[in-house]
């Protein structure tokens, strides 16, 4: 007899969704969180894509703690003093059922975990799972940092986020490679609501999501700027080994982004309220561990199910999607009295048949492409150079043709046509 049918470690979005689904299926569930409350330890850029919640919490948008609904999405390519922006606006994203929204994690995660509690899961905070309990190769529970802290269950779902010690202890990960990780850093900057509305040309509870390439100097990565109700989130994602090699501090690189002529006027006069940092499992599909073992499942960032590929920075939706699948599969396995690796295979089937695996599989080359020199250095410079030449009025000299400008910029930036075509084909195959 175990203490619980299912133990979920980590009350982030993956853990809350797993606990919610397992509890709804009638299983006894314990949701362990090391922080004093769900979300207290968690940071991210700021945009949640809620479509995955439709089936979990119908009409979630009526109660979720949302800052602003994203109705404007921009992609910016920049060099030291130039920027080209592709700006998309969509007013229907500002109405139910919405698309993306900015939200604070301490509020969002606590809300989602409260749903799991309402479904019957027992949430225990300020408690860290320090290891796995095993019977032979089979995982039968977790050890926690509380006195007499062993807790047994038929299935343990690891939702303990990136760099999951539990999944590693279970032998589900190969030795880790720092090249698979990026470091995310973020400042939250306070500004009055009216100033944000004015500067970002939005009204009411509408907001903006700007993703930026070419803003991280010699360190491959990307930037972002999101609007909350009365604050902005501005941050960077930086290749971990390259950051270490260049010897610069991440906040230095962030200060450069904040000082850029395309960003400085947007954040001017704001007061920095918070600085935070977190590691991201950037390599996605290529670094995913074994997802299933005897008595154990891995979901969310713990399973590297984060999509950080240039114009996408999505992890919360994949965490919820994979967590929910893990909760359902665990409940089913408990009901069938087979929680061995074979009995838990339903998890894999569920992931394969939904967006979690198909998106990751399809976009598996995307992180590599986005971190390539072409995307990081040449593309922003060429795009900005082309724009500058195109719009610089050189009369009385005649205007140069676009083809000539592009060729000239490619030459200037050492990009051979053959390389451009081959990279373009790869990008098409990946994103197409």
């Amino acid at each position: 007899m175990t203490d619980f049918d299912v133990i979920v470690v980590g009350a982030g979005p993956a853990g809350a969704a797993a606990a919610l689904e397992a509890a709804r299926a009638g299983r006894s569930v314990c949701l362990l969180e090391r922080g004093p409350y769900p979300g207290s330890k968690n940071m991210y850029g700021g945009v949640v894509y809620g479509r995955v919640l439709d089936s979990l919490i119908p009409n979630w948008w009526e109660e979720a703690p949302i800052q602003r609904w994203v109705t404007r999405r921009s992609t910016m390519l920049m060099t030291g003093d130039q920027a080209v922006t592709v700006d998309y606006r969509c007013s229907s994203w500002g109405e139910a059922p919405y698309n993306g929204a900015t939200a604070f994690r301490p509020e969002f995660d606590a809300w989602l975990a409260s749903k799991a509690e309402a479904a019957g899961a027992v949430l225990i905070c300020s408690t860290t799972a320090t290891g796995l309990l095993r019977d032979g190769t089979r995982v039968v529970g977790v050890r926690t940092d509380r006195p007499d802290g062993d807790l047994t269950a038929q299935v343990v779902i690891c939702c303990d986020g990136v760099n999951s010690f539990l999944a590693k202890e279970a032998g589900l990960y190969p030795p880790s490679d720092p090249a698979n990780y990026t470091l995310g850093v973020k400042e939250t900057i306070l500004l009055p609501r009216e100033v944000i509305d004015e500067r970002f040309a939005v009204r009411g509870d509408h907001g903006v999501d700007i993703e930026i390439l070419g803003c991280t100097g010699e360190v491959p990565g990307g930037g972002f700027l999101y609007t909350n109700a009365e604050s902005l989130a501005v941050g960077l994602v930086l290749s971990l080994p390259k950051l270490a090699a260049c010897g610069r501090r991440p906040e230095e690189i962030l200060a450069e982004l904040k000082a850029h002529s395309a960003i400085a006027p947007l954040i001017e006069g704001g007061q920095v309220k918070e600085y935070s940092a977190h590691v991201i499992p950037e390599a996605g599909y290529k670094m995913m561990p074994e997802l299933i073992g005897d008595g154990i499942l891995v979901a969310g960032d713990a399973a590297a199910m984060c999509l950080a590929a240039g114009i996408w920075l999505e992890g919360v939706n994949f965490a919820i999607g994979s967590g929910a699948a893990a909760g359902q599969a665990a409940a089913r396995a408990v009901q069938r009295r087979d929680t061995s690796s074979a009995g838990l295979q339903d998890y894999r089937r569920r992931l394969d048949s939904n967006f979690v695996m198909s998106d990751h599989r399809k976009l598996r080359e995307a992180p590599h492409l986005v971190m390539s020199d072409l995307a990081q250095q040449q593309l922003p410079r060429i795009a900005c150079g082309v724009m500058e030449q195109l719009f610089t009025v050189t009369n009385p000299d005649p205007k140069p043709g676009l083809r000539k400008i592009i060729r000239g910029q490619m030459k200037l930036n050492n990009l051979k046509l053959r390389d451009a075509i081959s990279q373009g084909m790869k990008a098409l195959r990946t994103f197409g």
């Binding site: 203490d3 314990c30 004093p36 409350y37 207290s40 301490p106 606590a110 027992v122 225990i124 408690t127 926690t144 509380r146 006195p147 007499d148 802290g149 062993d150 807790l151 306070l190 009055p192 009365e230 007061q271 309220k273």
Partner: protein, 295 residues
């Protein structure tokens, strides 16, 4: 509550804790203070009070006494989840006196005292934190002692149990000195946070605590409408005759009394009543008591 709850033959220890904003968010744009359930909690000295009560109870139980530790809080419903955690560390009972809004220390103490009286929790030792984390004055324990007619020992930096029902307390004095007190029931004491760190509850106890019920008391006290003073009381300016003197310097010297002899220090050996009388007389002689603070 039945009479067994009052533990008439044993010792009832009550730890009083205050649910307070630990990290109030001050909106720099509006200056408004934003309270939230997540940033509220109990101060380290309140935790020390609970731990002290548990240790005393343990020590006296080992000597054959029946001890009951109750945690008492005058606070809002938001406090209940955190209050329930006190069951996990070993509190026998947890009682919340419903108090939704901020009240003065005197009023909070009145509310707590109404739950502590013999017919209710029947407390022999009331242990409080010395100050709450939201810039508390530390005066609630003193008010409590007054309401309950108990002796008081406040701001303690050490507690040791002796025989059941009595304990040694250490208090800080000026000049690095210490005062050792022997306390017997009934007493109100307050402890600094450094006195004890609240124990970490076991996992089983933490789980079991989730099922426990915090007892709710609704005490009806008709408090008079409070008129808040907006700034500290200052004595009214005194009208003085214009200083005499031919030049500005001599007038300033006359006005400030800079060169006139100051009152020589005197050491009086008097009993407390006479000493109080002498202090008042001297203050009146200096003109401080011409005006009294508004009631």
């Amino acid at each position: 509550m039945n009479s067994a709850d009052l533990n008439p033959a044993g010792i009832n220890l009550v730890a009083c804790v205050k649910w307070a904003e630990l990290r109030p968010e001050i909106d720099p744009l509006h200056g408004s203070v934003e309270a939230s359930q997540r940033s509220s909690g109990f101060s380290s000295s309140d935790f020390a009070a609970v731990e002290s009560a548990l240790r005393l109870a343990q020590a006296w139980s080992d000597q054959g006494q029946v001890c009951v530790v109750t945690v008492l809080c005058a606070g809002p419903e938001d406090a209940e989840d955190s209050l329930r955690d006190f069951f996990a560390v070993g509190a026998t009972r947890v009682v919340r006196v419903d108090l939704a809004e901020q009240r003065s220390s005197a009023q909070v103490a009145e509310l707590l005292a109404s739950a502590l009286v013999p017919s209710q929790l029947n407390a022999q030792f009331v242990i409080c934190g010395d100050v709450s984390s939201d810039r508390g004055s530390g005066s609630v324990p003193a008010y409590l002692a007054h309401h309950l007619g108990m002796q008081q020992a406040l701001g303690l930096i050490g507690l040791e149990s002796t025989d059941p029902g009595s304990l040694h307390a250490t208090r800080r004095l000026d000049g690095g000195r210490r005062e050792r007190l022997l306390l017997t029931a009934a007493a109100v004491i307050s402890v600094e946070g450094s006195v004890a760190t609240l124990r970490r509850s076991s996992l089983a106890a933490t789980l079991a605590a989730k099922q426990k019920t915090v007892e709710l008391r609704k005490q009806q006290i008709d408090w008079p409408t409070e008129v808040n003073r907006l700034r500290p009381w200052r004595p009214r300016a005194r009208v003085l005759a214009p200083p005499a003197g031919d030049d500005a310097l001599s007038r300033i010297l006359e006005l400030t009394g800079a060169q006139s002899g100051s009152t020589a220090a005197r050491t009086l050996r008097l009993d407390p009543e006479q000493a109080a009388e002498a202090v008042l007389e001297q203050l009146a002689a200096w003109g401080y008591l011409d005006d009294s603070p508004p009631a």
